[in-house]
Point group: C2
Chain length 163, copies 2
């Protein structure tokens, strides 16, 4: 009588809570695995992984504002402000107030920052090798994750509605 779960309402078995069953934990673990894989490759340049993401964004489009970079990466200025200062101190980017709107700060690659792009292709290849995935597999998994991220964000937006 006491052995079978409480309310039959959900009927979720105990194993449903196991870490290995959780998609969120699989994502969380993969993030850490990527971080560890990138670390030795980025250490040579004194970069952290989030800093590298900012450079990836700037290599595609130089001269973005802090806000724009935040939109690209899903980070807020509270995270980016100190990070960008470190990137500046490392000599990879410069920051200057937009003369047309002094509230905004424009972040631009330095010569060193631009030069680093060549190295990024090597890092990319190295990581690609480490994943052991075909381009097709990478593409599928990436797209599935993007859809997942989108749905999670959407459901957040719903919960925020003023009804």
């Amino acid at each position: 009588m006491t052995t079978k779960a409480a309310k039959s309402e959900d009927a979720l078995p105990d194993e449903a809570l196991a870490l290995g069953q959780q998609l969120c934990f699989a994502v969380y673990s993969a993030t850490h695995a990527f971080n560890r894989a990138y670390k030795p490759l980025l250490d040579r340049f004194g970069l952290t992984y989030p800093q590298y993401l900012v450079l990836l964004a700037l290599w595609q489009q130089d001269g973005m504002t802090v806000k724009r970079i935040g939109e690209e990466l899903g980070l807020d200025s509270g995270t980016l402000s100190p990070l960008l200062k470190r990137l500046e101190a490392a000599g990879y980017v410069g920051r200057m107030r937009d003369p047309a709107d002094e509230r905004q700060v424009i972040v631009s690659l330095t010569e060193n920052g631009r030069r680093l792009k060549i190295e990024a292709f090597k890092i990319l290849a190295e990581i690609g090798r480490a994943t052991g995935c075909s381009l097709a597999e990478v593409g599928e998994l990436r797209d599935a994750l993007h859809r997942l991220t989108e749905r999670l964000a959407d459901s957040q937006a719903e919960g925020t509605q003023t009804d």
Copy 2:
């Protein structure tokens, strides 16, 4: 002559570096999306997501050592020690030195910690809804991520070899 990329060696196009193309960034973004989705659900209990992961682990197997929990979650004692102190302060776990080996600290659920497990099923259901994935989809994506994580970890191990 100057327009076409440098060494034909890799022949990776510029777009290969785009954030949207990166599997690592898709994983990174999904992690943040999960964190944001969990936050309002966990705030009610004064829990962070990593703290919740520790509870998930303890609900499966109570009374683990710090090291064992670290192996389950892929975290080291530098992260877990302060985290577990907060879980203790919140009244969800107790910590005590193993009398048989005073180096080890055994972490056990309190009555409140055990009670919370019921709520976890609701959180699980809520997140499941937010992902908008079928059980089959979740399973596939999760397994693909586990394989990816494994391969990344393996390639790390290789790089550490003393050859």
